[in-house]
């Protein structure tokens, strides 16, 4: 059977924007400031940048290179890419199942969460959010919207479901139009708009001064100080170093499998070193410059130095969906600023969710030799069905369970596996040569040592520490109520079934390939 030519990116800026769009997500604006404020303030930036240099950037180069290498063998997902590294080994491709399973599982709940931001953008511009003047009302609004309770704001989950349908359809529409016509076009429009919204919001917050004349200490300078004043004692804590490494891991979209797929649409002679670094710099601008300038300083000037500590502890989502509307509601033109905030989160969310959908679609296209239209159709049908438990059993621990396996465990495990395969199985000398194929800049030689020894050890330490700190309690359902346990266990069974189904599909695809050969 004739195999259609694989797609390619329309321009170099296109893939840079797409990878940056995948990396810039809700975490840049919600998770980073909370992590920094809670882990030593300015001192957090020391382990953060150390982790960026020793873990983040090496992993970015590894994934870009692996993706481009696999794409040369017409493989766009981890099973095929790993197989092309060591073709004699029949088992290696099964490690790659994690690289399809992980993004698919994240897509299942992330799309619903991204749709909240679309809903909140709508309610902001409609002027519904601004009059909610206290924390309890906004909390109640959120719970009603999520379908967790019926209240004066919402009688059912129908509005949230409608915004989910719009967000889901937008994702499908974008991936239907392919790499160049869909994802690249979306990211080239959405990312500049996102940065503009972020800069406008940052300027608005940084020019707030001290809004309450009776409390001159509640000013922006001190708000920035809450996030940036260093607590050097925190550097002695392993927890802080682990938190910084975790933040780097999650913010750069490494260990998911998305960069592998995106880079597989490059040509052999395309640069990956400079392009990877450029995408990293865009993500870091969104995270460290914009992420630190909006939510924490704004919360400080309106709630003061005592309450901000409780606010920072309440977690990223409450900060974004409860505290931020409350703060923006106190500003002139509150509806517009509230809209900008949620539209920014929506653009960040949707450019990430399309990237999460792409590995599964590429797997169907490349390994089963089916058309993009059919692959997207299959993905849409299966994805839509699997999203339903995350929507209707949100309060039952289903999303936490999906996030644990898809969004945390698989990321760290997959990052470790791909690094070991690339550096130790493929071989460091070959790997170094492959990274520099068509490279516009040379990587300093010290990184050869870092990539070979430091990055794998760093990853193994994170994997081990994280497994004992968070993994074991979650696996043994610690803190899960008796009423929620059946839902969590059913979710776990569903995930095992999904993983097994993907592994079987890999087996079938390779059997077909052998027959064709």
């Amino acid at each position: 059977m004739h195999k259609p030519k694989r797609e390619s990116w329309g321009s170099r800026l296109g893939i840079i924007m797409a990878v940056a769009g995948s990396a810039v997500g809700l975490g840049n604006f919600l998770r980073f400031p909370v992590q920094a404020a809670g882990n030593g303030g300015g001192a957090f930036m020391i382990p953060y940048f150390v982790a960026l240099l020793l873990l983040g950037i090496p992993l970015v180069w590894i994934e870009w290179t692996l993706g481009r290498y696999g794409g040369g063998f017409e493989h766009g997902t981890a099973p095929g890419i790993f197989h092309s590294l060591l073709q004699k080994n029949r088992f290696i491709k099964y490690f790659g199942v994690i690289g399809i399973f992980g993004p698919f599982v994240i897509f299942i709940y992330y799309t619903f969460i991204a749709s909240w931001t679309l809903g909140y953008s709508f309610y902001s511009i409609k002027g519904v959010l601004a009059p909610l003047g206290d924390q309890a009302s906004i909390q109640s609004f959120l719970r009603g919207y999520q379908g967790l309770e019926q209240n004066g704001f919402f009688k059912s989950i129908a509005p949230a479901y409608m915004f989910f349908l719009i967000t889901f359809s937008l994702n499908i529409f974008v991936i239907y139009y392919g790499i160049r016509g869909g994802i690249e076009t979306l990211c080239k429009i959405a990312l500049p708009v996102l940065f503009c919204f972020g800069i406008i919001l940052a300027i608005r917050v940084l020019t707030l001064g001290a809004p309450d004349a009776a409390k001159p200490g509640w000013n922006v300078g001190n708000g920035l100080g809450f996030l940036w004043n260093p607590d050097f004692g925190a550097l002695k804590s392993a927890k802080v170093w682990l938190a910084a490494a975790g933040q780097i891991f999650f913010t750069l979209s490494v260990g998911i499998g998305v960069i592998l797929t995106y880079a597989s649409y490059l040509s052999k002679g395309d640069d990956v070193v400079l392009s990877g670094m450029t995408a990293v710099s865009m993500n870091e601008f969104a995270e460290v410059v914009l992420g630190s300038s909006i939510i924490i300083p704004a919360a400080f000037v309106f709630f003061g130095p005592i309450d901000i500590q409780a606010i920072a502890r309440q977690g990223a989502f409450d900060l974004g969906f409860v505290t931020m509307p409350l703060i923006l509601g106190k500003l002139p033109l509150s509806s517009i600023f509230s809209f900008l905030w949620f539209a920014l989160l929506f653009l960040a969310g949707v450019t990430s969710s399309v990237s999460l959908a792409q590995p599964a679609v590429a797997f169907l296209e490349d390994e089963f030799n089916i058309s993009r239209k059919r692959a997207v159709g299959i993905f849409a049908a299966v994805g839509f069905l699997l999203c339903q438990p995350a929507i209707f059993f949100l309060g039952r621990g289903v999303v936490n369970e999906l996030d644990f396996w898809g969004g945390t465990f698989c990321l760290v495990l997959f990052g470790t596996i791909e690094t070991i395969l690339f550096v130790w199985v493929f071989g460091m000398d070959k790997a170094w040569e492959e990274i520099h194929h068509g490279a516009d800049i040379r990587i300093p030689r010290i990184f050869k040592f870092i990539i070979k020894y430091v990055t794998p050890v760093f990853l193994l330490v994170i994997l081990g520490a994280w497994f004992f700190q968070e993994g074991l309690p979650t696996i043994f359902l610690k803190g899960v109520s008796e009423a929620d346990k059946p839902f969590v266990l059913w979710t776990r069974l569903g995930l095992i079934a999904l993983f097994s189904a993907l592994a079987i599909m890999v087996k079938i695809a390779w059997r077909k390939r052998r027959k064709r050969a």
Binding site: S11, R12, L13, I16, G41, G42, A43, M45, F49, G221, N222, L224, G225, W228, N229, P230, L274, S275, M277, T278, V280, S281, M282, E284, F285, V288, V289, S292, D440, I441
Partner: protein, 34 residues
């Protein structure tokens, strides 16, 4: 914000902006052949 806070903020932001400027300058200075 104390002096150390400003130092960390300025160093972090300027580092990131310098990296971004360098990368984009190199990306745009090379003519793309497709």
């Amino acid at each position: 914000m104390n002096i150390y806070g400003w130092i960390f903020l300025i160093l972090s932001w300027s580092g990131i902006l310098t990296l971004g400027t360098f990368c984009f300058h190199r990306v745009f200075s090379k003519k793309e052949v497709k």
